[in-house]
Each structure stands twice: as structure tokens, then as C-alpha cells.
Subunit: 236 residues, 2 copies
């Protein structure tokens, strides 16, 4: 409603990058849906809620996007794709010319895109919450996120392997999974830590989250392989 320098969210138009003065109804719906989905998830939010928050009629959701599900898909894509791109870009930057980065550097390149470092404050929280909350809700989206991430995920595992060669690939995968869990959980459930810590820690402060998770995760990655790791790779 106030700031209107918005990216278009259409995958089909690579030409038009930034379109100012685009606070059309369509745009308002899109932003409203982002905000609501990110806090409440998909099922909890009705088309009517979205329209109400955007100040438009709910019929317009179907008119512009084709339906609730289609709207979600568009939002989802617009958020996941840059995540992967940014991660790959950062990884390339630190491995340029065969250079071997430290664990910290690699983790930083993995974590920062999740926290959308560099983006304007207003959209950052929404962004991660979308990913966290949707992948927590709908199985299809977990699958989608995973398949989107495959490429960058493999590259990161490879990088980690070359700087922690004594660890098995499986262990590295587990540990990277733990990092994602810590990030997503913090962002999806800030209330939990806020309540338990008596408001002394706040996961909504993304800088603090980063400062805290990096040394913790880096040290965790450097831990020795656990005893039974190889013997029971996948028991089930």
C-alpha cells in the first residue's frame, strides 16, 4: 500500500525486471497472500481473508490468478527459485579458482540466502516463512523444495566433503539437514524460543540468528563421525 517498487512475479517475463507503480489489485492480492500464507499457512487462510487484507473483492483472486492453489504456486515459485540461485552464486564465489573454503564460509553461503541477507527488511521474514511454513504443511511442497534444491544441495555437500574429507557423505547430509531444521524451526516458530527464553532470544532477529547458528553449526560439522554411523546407514 505504501512502497511500490515491486518485482513482477511472473516467471514468463524475464525482460521486465522491475515495474514501478504496480500496486494494482493483482499486486495487492499477491502481497497480501504472501503475508498471510507465511504466518498462517495455506489451509488456515481463505481467499476471502486474502482479499479482505488486500482491500479488494475476493472474486478477483480467481480472476487474476485462477484460484487459490494457483496463487500459492506462483508465490512459492517466486520465493524458492532465488534461494537456490543465491546459494549457488555464493558458493561459486568462494570456490573460485579451485580455492578451498572453510566450513564457516560454506555454511555462511548456505545460510545467508535462507535469511535473505541484503534484502530490504520488510520482505525477509515473509520470504523464509513461506518456505518454512509451506514445506511444513503440504507434502507436495516438500517434494518441490527438495527437487529445486537438489542442484545446490549436491554442490554444497561436495564442497563440505572436500574440506571435511574424514566424514562420510551421509554424516554431512545429516548435519546439513540439522542446520535447515534449526533455521526453519526458528523462523516458523519464533514464539517458542521467545516464550521459553523469556524474550531474551528472538529468532525474528535474523542477524542474531545468523550470529548464533554459524559457530554452533560449524563446530557441529567438525565433530568426529559417530560410532555407529557406517554400520547402520539406513536400518529401515
Amino acid at each position: 500500500m505504501k512502497k511500490i517498487a515491486s518485482k513482477t512475479h511472473h516467471r514468463g517475463s524475464p525482460s521486465a525486471e522491475i515495474r514501478v507503480l504496480d500496486a494494482s489489485s493483482k499486486d495487492k492480492i499477491f502481497r497480501s497472500a504472501e503475508a498471510l500464507f507465511s504466518t498462517k499457512g495455506f489451509r488456515e487462510v481463505s481467499v476471502r481473508d486474502i482479499a479482505a487484507r488486500a482491500g479488494v473483492h475476493f472474486a478477483l483472486v480467481a480472476y487474476y490468478f485462477g484460484g487459490k492453489q494457483a496463487l500459492l504456486d506462483e508465490i512459492f515459485h517466486s520465493h524458492v527459485a532465488p534461494l537456490v540461485e543465491d546459494g549457488m552464486k555464493r558458493l561459486k564465489a568462494i570456490t573460485k579458482g579451485g580455492r578451498k573454503p572453510s566450513v564457516e564460509e560454506i555454511l555462511k553461503a548456505w545460510i545467508l540466502p535462507c535469511l535473505r541477507q541484503g534484502e530490504p527488511e520488510e520482505g525477509r521474514m515473509i520470504h523464509l516463512r513461506i518456505i518454512a511454513s509451506l514445506s511444513h504443511e503440504r507434502w507436495e511442497y516438500t517434494k518441490k523444495v527438495s527437487s529445486y534444491m537438489q542442484r545446490s544441495y549436491r554442490a554444497f555437500i561436495k564442497a563440505l566433503q572436500s574440506c571435511l574429507p574424514h566424514l562420510s557423505k551421509e554424516t554431512l547430509m545429516w548435519r546439513l539437514h540439522f542446520v535447515m531444521g534449526a533455521l526453519f524451526f526458528g523462523i516458523r516458530q519464533p514464539a517458542s524460543l521467545i516464550a521459553l527464553s523469556g524474550a531474551r532470544c528472538n529468532p525474528e532477529d535474523l542477524e542474531a540468528t545468523f550470529d548464533q547458528i554459524l559457530p554452533y553449526a560449524a563446530a557441529g560439522f567438525r565433530a568426529a563421525e559417530c560410532a555407529g554411523a557406517k554400520s547402520r546407514k539406513s536400518k529401515k
Copy 2:
């Protein structure tokens, strides 16, 4: 339908501990609801689904439990309370007589109740999924979990503090939060790691999860305090 040695799930009856041959309709509904809520969440599951899976008529849900929400509350309570109890018991056991346990021991006491070590296999996954999925869905339940956990949480933080005295309380709180995130995420979204790892790691294998997370988290806890931790305790 097969094994019927079930605990009663009524908080009001502390006397009757185990009641065999209780595979009544009420019990079937309860179990069915546990299974469905744990995999799909609350909103995604209808009373009709629950009844269908239990093989009874959907009207019975209201008859026995008073409604969908009340059923959920009962399930929820029956799962969270033991979690806290078990954690406290384990913590007491390792600190008995003023003994100072290691980080590993403390974390073990925190993690194992979450994974319900010692319980029969069939119910373990359901249990944690209930907590993870509900606290991801409804804000009230995050609040409820938090308030239930306050007591044991504080005790654990205190124990950690006494064995890692160089770390601030805030840092310990962050790190314990990361552990919970890793656990919950793994259990709620096993598909994610399974897909990304090409089925080489499986978070549904709770023993593997434990083996993997313990050395990782313990090493993470031992990491030095991050530089900016004190200065920007809670910026926001």
C-alpha cells in the same frame, strides 16, 4: 485393532493406569486421530476421515470427545505431559547427588524423551509427529508446548550452564532451540532429507537420528561464544 494394551487417555483418572481390552470405539477413534493428525495436521483432517479410519461412524467423535477440537486437546495433552516428565526424570537421574554430567549426558536426557526411547516402535513416530506438526500449525499449541516445557527447559538450561560456565545463558538457549528445530524438522519432514540424500539418510529411523544428532549437537554446544552475542542480545 490388534494390540490392545493401551493407556487410558483421561487425565481425570490417575487410578486406572492400564486398561486392557479397551479397543472400544472411543479408543479406536483416539488412535485413528493420533495417526492422522500426526501425518496431516489438524486442518487437513476431517472428523469423517478419523471415523472412517477407525471404522466407526463420524457422529461418535462428537459423542465421545465433544468435538474435533476437544479430541485434539486430549491427544495433545496425552503426548506433551509425558515428554516433560520423562525429561525431568532423566535429568534428575544424571545429576543425582550433586554430580556434574557431561554435555553429552544432558543432551541425551533432552533428546531421548523426544524420540521416546524405550517405547514400542509403533507409537514413537506418531508421538513426535503430533508435537512437531501441531506446534507448527496452530499458534496456541506453540504457546501450550512452551508453557508445559518451561519447567524442564529451565532445569536443562541450568544443568548446561553448570557444565559450560563460559557460555552465556542466551547462547545456551539458542543452541537448545537449534537442537529442537533439528529434531522436529527431521521428524516432521523426513521426506526432505530422504529425497535430498537419495534415500541414504532416513530421519524416520529414530536410532540413526539420535546417533547423528548427539555428537553434532554436543560439539556445537562446546563452540566458543560468538563475537557479537553479548552486544546485541535482542536488537529488535
